[in-house]
């Protein structure tokens, strides 16, 4: 590697691009997370429901979104979905950063499908007898869920949810295929403009790693602070 020169890709202009990309990646992660979590909870409850139709819907959503590559889903959201929309909605979409909206849509459903399975298996991991005992002691169904089952389930659910968040953070990079100007997109832009691939990718890899390690540290902290109790 002749003359490795980090300063060459950290000029004011390039630094601005990379920083914009980094912030957009963070935004994508945050917005997606906020929509995906309630959606995942809903899907998980569907799958646990005693209503057959709800179970079927939950199953279809989870298997559908988990078994199609995120890249393909993003292509579908960006190229195919607008065709299915009414004219007014489509032009609104193209006026409002279609590539960001589509990236959030694709990432949300993909992430929610994985989170739903973590939530479902977390709730199922709490023995049924816990619920039965609570009911026998006179708690209502909702009260026993809220006070007995969920507090135990949360300790099991949170660590896998954090690792899904880490996956989400890494997956934002794939949004580059539909031209979302996140970190990976800006990396390619800086690389093309500066002809310094190694330096650019070093900076960007470190940026991805920094956030990833932060998320991993959060997971380790949580599991130490709130270990799963044997029931």
């Amino acid at each position: 590697m002749p003359n490795f020169d980090l300063a060459a890709v950290l000029t004011d202009e390039f630094r601005g691009w990379l920083l914009d990309g980094f912030l957009l990646s963070i935004e994508l992660t945050a917005i997606t997370w906020l929509i995906a979590l309630p959606l995942a909870t809903f899907i998980a409850l569907c799958r646990l429901s005693s209503v057959r139709v709800a179970r079927g819907l939950g199953f279809a959503l989870v298997e559908g979104f988990r078994n199609i590559p995120l890249l393909v889903q993003l292509l579908f959201w960006y190229f195919a979905v607008p065709e299915l929309l009414p004219e007014a909605l489509r032009s609104w979409l193209y006026e409002h950063d279609a590539e960001i909206v589509c990236a959030v849509a694709g990432l949300t459903f993909y992430t929610a499908a994985f989170m739903a399975e973590d939530i479902r298996s977390g709730i199922r991991a709490v023995p049924v007898t816990q619920l039965e005992a609570a009911r026998a002691l006179g708690f209502s169904f909702l009260a026993s869920m809220r006070r007995i089952v969920l507090p135990q389930a949360v300790r099991i659910i949170v660590p896998p949810l954090i690792s899904q968040t880490l996956n989400l953070w890494k997956n934002t990079s794939i949004a580059t295929v539909i031209g979302t100007a996140e970190l990976m997109y800006q990396a390619q832009r800086v690389e093309t403009a500066s002809f310094r691939g190694v330096e650019t990718f070093t900076v960007v890899t470190l940026a991805y790693l920094a956030v990833s390690l932060l998320i991993t540290a959060l997971s380790v902290w949580f599991q130490r602070r709130f270990p799963v109790r044997a029931s």
Binding site: L71, L75, L209
Partner: protein, 227 residues
């Protein structure tokens, strides 16, 4: 959608082959399969290093695994794109680039599967093997790994499904796998994105759902054997 499958099924399946390079679904499967097969020995080596008693081996490998798992695959693909030509001295084609990235990336993930598999075997097995006179390598080779392998099988199949999905990133570096072929058909037709990308999604769905059902079946059978 039917008419598109009818017209382009061969293109979806093998790309431009035999008039051009192999592509399409066959390339996706070939890439995914080769990547897992080559990543497996790497994963076993890294996994053994992760549980090793030697710190000089365990610490660097642990760090490596954490670094790779904290990096997006796309980043690794770009690194491969840049580094491989300077290592091998000539321009690497997209298949080799993608394969190298997938093997390296999956090696780190398989390492964790192998580690979990080894650590899931009761400690007494190793102690027993050692007290019967086997050395560490023999105990690993004949006692621990065969048992761990059975526990790891469902995770391995799941990793294969993940890898199949990951091969779609080949699209970004212009490798003619399934997604790339589909987007080319889309460019040719221009007006049928719903049908083309719908077909593409369906193809992956059938492939991956089928494979993950196998993993599920193996998991059920394993837990039945265990109890």
């Amino acid at each position: 959608m039917i008419d598109i499958i009818d017209t382009y099924w061969l293109y979806f399946l093998v790309g431009q082959y035999p008039d051009g390079p192999l592509g399409g679904l066959v390339l996706t499967l070939l890439l995914g399969f080769t990547a897992v097969v080559l990543a497996l020995p790497l994963g076993v080596l890294l996994g053994l290093a992760r549980v090793s008693v030697r710190r000089w081996l365990r610490w660097p490998v642990t760090a490596l695994v954490y670094v790779v798992r904290g990096t997006p695959l796309l980043m690794v693909v770009f690194w491969a794109y840049f580094f491989l030509p300077s290592v091998t001295g000539h321009k690497t084609n997209q298949f080799t680039t993608m394969l190298a990235a997938l093997v390296f990336f999956n090696g780190a993930y398989l390492a964790e599967i192998v580690r979990a598999g080894i650590q899931g075997i009761a400690k007494g097995q190793m102690e027993c093997a050692r007290s019967l006179g086997l050395n560490y390598t023999q105990a690993m080779r004949y006692i621990i790994l065969p048992q761990a392998a059975r526990n790891m099988l469902p995770s391995l199949v799941n990793q294969f499904v993940t890898t199949i999905k990951e091969t779609s990133l080949g699209y970004i570096i212009g490798l003619a796998e399934l997604s790339f072929v589909a987007s080319q058909i889309n460019t040719q037709l221009l007006t049928r994105p719903v049908a083309v990308f719908g077909t593409l999604a369906l193809a992956y769905f059938i492939l991956c759902l089928g494979l993950s059902r196998i993993a599920y079946y193996l998991e059920v059978r394993r837990s039945r054997v265990a109890t």
